[in-house]
Symmetry: D2
Subunit: 327 residues, 4 copies
Amino acid sequence: MPIRNPVFAPPFNIVRASHVELGVRDLARARAFYVDCLGLLLSDETADALYLRGVEERNHHSLVLRLSRAAEAQALGFKLGSEADLDRAAFWFARANLPTSFPDLPHQGRTLRTADIFGTPLDLCAQMEQSESMLQKYAAHQGARIQRIDHLNCFTPDVQASYDFYSALGFRLTEYTETDGDDAKLWAVWLQRKGNVHDLAFTNGLGPRLHHVGLWTAGVHDIIHICDVMATCGYLANMERGPGRHGISNAFFLYVRDPDGHRVELFTSDYLTVDPDHAPIRWSLTDPRRQTLWGHSAPESWFREGSQFSGVAPREPALAAQPVVAM
Amino acid sequence: MPIRNPVFAPPFNIVRASHVELGVRDLARARAFYVDCLGLLLSDETADALYLRGVEERNHHSLVLRLSRAAEAQALGFKLGSEADLDRAAFWFARANLPTSFPDLPHQGRTLRTADIFGTPLDLCAQMEQSESMLQKYAAHQGARIQRIDHLNCFTPDVQASYDFYSALGFRLTEYTETDGDDAKLWAVWLQRKGNVHDLAFTNGLGPRLHHVGLWTAGVHDIIHICDVMATCGYLANMERGPGRHGISNAFFLYVRDPDGHRVELFTSDYLTVDPDHAPIRWSLTDPRRQTLWGHSAPESWFREGSQFSGVAPREPALAAQPVVAM
Amino acid sequence: MPIRNPVFAPPFNIVRASHVELGVRDLARARAFYVDCLGLLLSDETADALYLRGVEERNHHSLVLRLSRAAEAQALGFKLGSEADLDRAAFWFARANLPTSFPDLPHQGRTLRTADIFGTPLDLCAQMEQSESMLQKYAAHQGARIQRIDHLNCFTPDVQASYDFYSALGFRLTEYTETDGDDAKLWAVWLQRKGNVHDLAFTNGLGPRLHHVGLWTAGVHDIIHICDVMATCGYLANMERGPGRHGISNAFFLYVRDPDGHRVELFTSDYLTVDPDHAPIRWSLTDPRRQTLWGHSAPESWFREGSQFSGVAPREPALAAQPVVAM
Amino acid sequence: MPIRNPVFAPPFNIVRASHVELGVRDLARARAFYVDCLGLLLSDETADALYLRGVEERNHHSLVLRLSRAAEAQALGFKLGSEADLDRAAFWFARANLPTSFPDLPHQGRTLRTADIFGTPLDLCAQMEQSESMLQKYAAHQGARIQRIDHLNCFTPDVQASYDFYSALGFRLTEYTETDGDDAKLWAVWLQRKGNVHDLAFTNGLGPRLHHVGLWTAGVHDIIHICDVMATCGYLANMERGPGRHGISNAFFLYVRDPDGHRVELFTSDYLTVDPDHAPIRWSLTDPRRQTLWGHSAPESWFREGSQFSGVAPREPALAAQPVVAM
């Protein structure tokens, strides 16, 4: 039985997935994609980085694009409940023999850089420089009118181990895919802290690697519009999958690839999960509707490709089952 | 019985309401409103005029804003079926002792300038310089993503007379408001040539004056978005009425006033009227739902204010009945 | 040069594609699909037929489903401008040595049953019994909230011949696909009478066969919703293609197959084409964006399958070029 | 300075506003309104009560309509984090000399019935009977396609006192209205537990009374549709205010009155508030945009009318300032 009881009193309080840093090889090209096309707001621009946020976000940035020789993911960022939680986190990771340091990061409060058991780099902080909310500056809403970061989705070589690790930190399971039969194995898990379907998800595969960054839009229309825009302004090849409706999470989605190959999901319409008696939903690995209600298959790239984390060699997963591809 | 049979073989073929010219006192201010806020495309800009069009329009312009000392409407523009129709129109208006001339207008084919029986200036042409359709250049769609001009709506001092005049030219009645009782009088008429609810409408009032120019949007979302934009970028006072749903025409609407006071309707979701046996819908002047299904009252300005036509003194209407204001 | 000038004065006036009759093998099953799921309104139900219409339609029916031993299309229906046009049509078809009869059809005015040069059965009438418009009975809008019939799309063994035939009857070309090179051949044509992109379209293929019936919805949201409904109430396998955006016509579309295999397109967001100087848009057969802007391929069935017309044997097309399938 | 620091470690964990019980005088009439028109799902129906929920809700009910001689609100319902939280709550309320009892309520786990300092009846429970989620049974989504309960909004005779009381229980302030000047007084507060703008709100006025129950819809389209439905199926007079956009919370809203006069808000599009450094937004009582961005005034009834709580006499507020009504 691979499913655990939720941990309601974790060793420290992670509030949500709040930001991510990606390495890109050409800042102008990245800016054209994320700002001019997708419509993220530019909070700051330096010689080697772009700091971006969605229209409702007051945190200075939810996406940092750093000039890099390789198109790698640098770190997953999470917001903690307080500075005291940050101290508790540092203690917890140190005692778990995981790396801890406090790099000086612009526009963020004190930040713990650490890693999970597979080496996935994590940045934890409780405070970030606050920017103006642009939610009611509607004239500044462009492209997909992205509201905020929603979640981070990763490949892991061992879903059960990743699930166990993050469960202990208070992440709650909302949906999961497992193999059928007596010796069921977890294939994928969706884990939340902020009260919707996920802040963090893991799928079985060569990992750790970042599968995608999920960005929230206000509705279906914004996603349909960005399809029309991308298809007609030179980004057709960047549209990897969708639009469509996931069975899992009920999300209306579009997956796009940025000019460096990092995957972004534009995402809306999941549901509330804060109740203590909210039970996780199980999907069989052989049920094609978990991937898409409407029966469209995902391309091979969607199952195989992801962004490596800087300096972290991914491993092959132990579990070799193949998901049933829709249709 | 004030309603006439449709004229299926008119003396010449008016295809649709296609453009309108408005006098504005400040071109930069007008451009900020129509282009930067509402999102109309700028086809041409000269020292004394702006030529605008919607995203699907290939005609060079559907809205001409001409620098003027007075905020007056200059002319209502209609597209004819052919150059031969234009000749027939010139003959017909001349024989009706209405003025005819062929001014040289930029970007338009041969254009007949004439007037209706109340002096409303009309520009008729069969050809216009063709511009690139921007319908599938989605990145250029901004603001209300206006698709095209839809209709022209005027005050007239005598609705029956205006209806009779345009009916003879083949305009077909789709909806009308009349007073109750044995001696019913027309209060307002909606007349079409292109096959939806209207190209031209008349309401009883001090006239002739232009009540509004109707611009078509692709859906409700575009109108809700422009409400949010206008309310938060300095145009709150320009939002005169709506958003709402008209009983008449079933249109989802927003009425705005431009910086010179000209009224524009953003409009979507009416219906097809091409059938020969399509019967007009009658509304009683005492039925508040014709103005709005949802029960919102229109402000006094909406009933009283309009743009005078240049050089044409409006007259008081003969009919003094008052519409029932919703709620 | 295969493109002809429009015929603005045709021998009789066809107003629009107005109805279609399909043979179905199980009326209850058809009713569950069209009424309970898609949301068409039931105008009448007899022992051997269902008469359906959209929410804005006042014509008694736009879709007739007749109990039949074979899942065949029975006739394409068109509305004429007047009873005199009907007489002119009967004369014209007779002189062209095409069959003419006046069968007695319930709820329709006098109806000419004839055929085009390939035997496609055509029903022409100028009047139909009028039903209540349900456009403002919003509580009755269900499923895809279908507004009205929009168009009919057929396979033909000779696109040029079909185009020539219907052009002579006043159908105007709005978009077309042709092969490249000096000796360009027409591959597909979109032809209109009512002023949007099409009433009737033809694609090269084993024909004559009905490819699909196009039904108009008020917006994108209605099509997304019916995807969710069909996918979760037993009609997943009936979703053949989409949702997506056509390059041709700019339509937002979903293609579904009814329980007898007849194909229906739910369709919205094309554009106005009434201008006399409105030029048709040419697409190369090698341009994948004509089928879909977003790069999704259509399934093989979409290119190959269609409904035979009752009693009409289809022929292989002369033109053997293959369309470039998207992606 | 009336604003307090958030209490991150409250005496017990209230997860969210989860349900409400209203007294209605005619169950059939209430069912027609809530189920047939608004589209709430019927979880259970007894001789004296209806149990309703939204399409994503797994809790058996979020709205209980109980047959009653008076149209009164019976209790505000909140979900707690655990059974242990429920024990802690009982202890806390008892020590505060507030009433505590554990009535036996159908379909709910152990429930503490208590009251706040003004006598507002509160029902607290940690568990509820779980029903099937209908989120992916799209064919069952009707009317406004209501997803879930969102919040409860009340009049209070002393906003500062209500704010102080609920702040101590961990409710966090997200937005507030106060009078201007040196001695600023709180006029209204929006308080959250689940991470969006509010679970509970208070406005200065004759209280305690329930102002409205907020129900969440997936998007703007669902609210526009229910306007059309209500206006055309006999509920026009029940549409009290909107649709519109609040400045406060950025919500797109429609306020309706049920047949007993209880007020319901259909509501969508607010924002995420989980961050520990998320600062509340201050609005001046003299700023009309807090009520509506678009400049529409609310009717007098919206400011004056509310549902009394059963057996609780409301008092006049101490603060007599008048809100500036929009426009």
